[in-house]
Amino acid sequence: MENRINLRDGLIKQNMVFMSGMLIAPVIACATTLAKSLALCFVFSVVSFAAILLCRLIPRTIVYTVRVTLYTVAAAVFYIPAAILAGLIFGEQVITSAGVYLPILVTNSLILSKTETRFYLEPYGNMVKDVLAFIVGFDLACAASGILREFLASGRIGGAEVPVLFTIPALETTFGGFLFVGIGAGLFRAVYNRSKKRAGANAADDEDSLAEYAEDIGEFLVGKRARSEKIRIYKAAAGKAKNENELLEMEFLSNRDVLAAFEAIVNEGQEIENNTANSEPAEEPDPADSGENGEKEDTENGSVS
């Protein structure tokens, strides 16, 4: 379980800007120059990393209503040194021009929802790596936005003039930011899907990852009673519940709902197991079939993934 962490999730597959859209406001409205985007990255990284690590210590027995409040308060406390340091590193002018987009980072979805649906369900070592992958994924997307928009809007990079044939000044604006992020997200997904197809792992990758995740949670739920022979059962269940997983990623459900959803997956897995045992031992559910079902459902519902 310790080695199973997939760093690609945070960096690419669930990239917070281009894939899941979990934190886009600062990138759209503020990451218009390299300096501002680096200031955003710095404050986001410090606040998120420190708050997530600290809040792991908050007992799960505390109700979610209070827990989520404590997460935000912790992030706001860490914002104080982060903002002071950012002022010293990047200069007060950059911090002032970033306006409200630095302080709003204390309520980012990585701290408020990803902790409950993902990070705090993982062992501590895995969680640290996973959090870092998500943070670096955001930082890269934000920095890329800053560099490209500054270059395209004003023919500069980091304030230095760069020879350019034409400029698109509207990229400095909020609507320019929306269009940039929207088109960027579409292209990012297209490249990602193509690379997956080229690797010949189009369906298997998603299913395996979801199945592994479901297995981990399954083990967590049934008190680590899940055994290797159950892996295929959980894979099948996870494939069928693909929409549920998408939902968990996007809809920021509370921890209780996450557990309920995965309990349903585990129950379904056990039902399949029982049915298989009652019929023929050779006819175990085929994960590929379940994946197809999941794909169909996904398209029909038009879910955002």
Partner: protein, 198 residues
């Protein structure tokens, strides 16, 4: 009468000219979630309007008392978060105690509609734009209505935005963001824009 006009003008500015989502991109990710269902559109807008409006007088008090302090800029998020947290918990306790049915239907997403960048961002905008307590209140009310307008426009188009005619890579989140960008561009007609490069 003057106070009432202050509230109305601040509210109108925050709905149209400085719409929180379309002009500032605040709460864009919440907008994507809220626009999936009609009930969510109304629920989120009501929660955002409620929290920003109730918080506004307290925020005004902090700004008036501590605004001159050198480090106020860095402690603002903490004060604002604490304000939101107190309102959130007190409101939930009251609803849980007196309206258990409503509590059941709200509890699934109420934390999302309260702790998000649209609410805290709106409070920062109140602080920047509101001159007096009435301005703060108007901005708080207008923020929720502005969110409602943006979310409803996205909700109304969501079926077409998920059409199979749209390339698969752009379907869902990317095309929704592009659509919000076009709405945002349309809203610039209220204010116009200038860039440093022009």
């Amino acid at each position: 009468m003057e106070a009432f006009l202050d509230v109305i003008s601040a509210a109108l500015i925050s709905i149209f000219a400085q719409n929180m989502v379309l002009e500032r991109a605040l709460g864009a990710n919440v907008l994507l979630y809220a626009s999936r269902k009609k009930e969510h559109v109304l629920g989120f807008a009501a929660a955002i309007a409620y929290v920003t409006t109730v918080s506004a007088p307290l925020i005004w008090l902090f700004d008036t008392l501590l605004g001159e302090s050198g480090y106020y800029r860095v402690i603002m998020p903490l004060l604002y978060v604490l304000t939101i947290a107190v309102i959130y918990i007190v409101t939930l306790v009251v609803i849980w105690r007196f309206f258990p049915k409503l509590f059941k239907s709200l509890k699934k997403y109420v934390h999302l509609s309260v702790f998000n960048c649209s609410v805290i961002g709106a409070l920062f905008l109140c602080s920047q734009q509101g001159n007096d307590i009435f301005g703060y209140l108007g901005y708080g009310i207008g923020t929720g209505i502005g969110f409602l307008v943006a979310a409803y426009l996205l909700y109304a188009a969501s079926a077409r935005l998920n059409s199979p005619l749209i390339p698969a890579a752009f379907r869902g989140y990317p095309i929704m963001i592009v659509y919000v960008g076009i709405l945002s561009l349309a809203l610039y007609a209220f204010t116009g824009y200038s860039t440093s490069a022009l």
